[in-house]
């Protein structure tokens, strides 16, 4: 006996899982209708300062009169909430309201829903967690997009976690991402890692606005002149390899908040915003 296929049986599927997933995506699309541009700050390598660059960019755009939000998509190592001194999240019956950080930037971060210094822990079956953890992480991002009353925004900056596949996950949720902004540090190790992430982003047709080289120099509080912090020239090398503009270099100044760092790289923020807005 040969059974009929799922689609051969004309009756409705009681749980309608596919329909529910489609409805979830539609909610994301509807919410993003009030947002002019979505920009993903990305890098293949951890520790290059993506969150810092994202926060500098957001505060600069806000100072320029733009309505700006930041979604901290680094669910397991969230830092944007603290970098921008974000207040609490608040709930209404129909949506979550973003926290408000420095310069009025609207912020949503897993940091704001976790206990102080607690890791992201998932409830439920503890064995074989790897099977469903990725699905839950994408689901959490989806809710941070769809269930948040972002309001009318000129720019939503998404701070992606490190890893070559982060851009792919985001493009699954938001096919309309306007640009990716690539962050590297000067080292050869960073160049290799970031090159993989750029290729992964290109695989899913994410347009890339350009490259920012972070920690390009070190400003010691005790010395007048900045000096190099790392060997290498990854920003320029990646720009040449992928035919992308090197939008600028951001030095490291200890203790500098993102809001105060806007002037540390004259012209950088202007060039980035010009590409993004």
């Amino acid at each position: 006996m040969r059974y009929r296929t799922y689609h051969d049986v004309p009756g409705k599927d009681r749980s309608q899982l596919a329909h529910q997933v489609a409805a979830q995506r539609a909610r994301v699309t509807e919410r993003l209708g009030a947002i002019d541009r979505v920009v993903a700050v990305m890098s293949g390598k951890g520790g290059v300062g993506k969150s810092y660059v994202a926060s500098v960019l957001a505060t600069a755009a806000s100072e320029a009169g733009k309505a700006v939000g930041v979604l901290d998509a680094d669910l397991n190592s969230p830092t944007v909430g603290r970098l921008l001194n974000a207040g609490p999240l608040n709930m209404t019956d129909v949506a979550m309201l973003p926290a408000v950080g420095d310069r009025g930037v609207r912020v949503v971060s897993s940091d704001l829903v976790l206990d102080e210094d607690a890791p992201l822990r998932w409830r439920g079956a503890s064995s074989e967690e790897f099977v469903w953890r990725g699905t839950l992480e994408v689901g959490m991002l989806r809710e941070f997009l769809a269930d948040v009353e972002w309001g009318q925004l000129d720019l939503l900056v998404v701070d992606l976690p490190p890893g070559a596949d982060a851009a792919k996950d985001l493009m699954t949720l938001i096919p309309s991402v306007a640009h990716g902004l690539v962050v590297t540090i000067p080292t050869e190790e960073s160049r290799r890692s970031v090159a993989r992430a750029i290729q992964a982003a290109q695989d899913v047709n994410m347009p890339l606005a350009g490259i920012v080289e972070n920690m390009s120099a070190y400003h010691s509080p005790d010395r007048g002149e900045p000096g190099p912090l790392f060997d290498g020239d990854a920003g320029a090398a990646l720009a040449t390899e992928f035919d992308l503009p090197l939008l600028g270099r951001l030095p490291l100044r200890p203790g500098r908040s993102p809001a105060d760092a806007v002037g540390d790289a004259p012209g950088l923020v202007d060039r980035v915003l010009e590409r993004l807005l």
């Binding site: 207040g87 420095d102 439920g124 469903w132 269930d147």
Partner: protein, 141 residues
């Protein structure tokens, strides 16, 4: 997922769902022609895997609460999202906080938050900041 009665070649109809324990999900179906009944039992891992999609298993409810998946799956999130978290800052108080040097701003914010939470204050206004400063002896902040 659809259930087919082989003998009748008819799609079975849903009539009950239960979560009897240990993470098992049960859905029961009956054949509209012969009345044969079956129950599908999903093991806890299967239940959790489908639940991680953020969908309603065994039903078709689409109007879930906002942050339904975060509240139900992330430890500690439900309390934070139920309004028991840190107090809200009004735009006026935020503007005042922005005038504090950035390297101590986070610490100052934490001091105000803790002071307000201890008193059950849900919103920090400039008046609340003034009261806290006097109470804590922080007139310079």
């Amino acid at each position: 997922m659809k259930f087919l009665c082989i003998d009748c070649d008819a799609q079975m109809e849903f009539f009950d769902r239960q979560e009897p324990g240990d993470g098992t999900f049960a859905a029961a179906f009956a054949c509209p022609t012969c009345g044969r009944r079956v129950a599908m039992l999903a093991n806890p891992m299967e239940t959790h895997l489908v639940g991680s999609l953020g969908v309603t298993i065994g039903g078709n409810t689409l109007d879930q609460d906002p942050l339904h998946l975060v509240k139900s799956h992330v430890e500690g999130a439900e309390g934070k999202l139920a309004g028991h978290g840190r107090p809200a800052w009004t735009p006026e108080s935020r503007s005042r906080l922005d005038r504090v040097p950035s390297f101590v701003r986070g610490m100052v914010m934490k001091i105000y938050n803790e002071w307000a939470m201890e008193r059950g204050i849900s919103e920090i206004t400039p008046d609340v900041m003034d009261e806290a400063r006097v109470d804590l002896g922080l007139e310079e902040m």
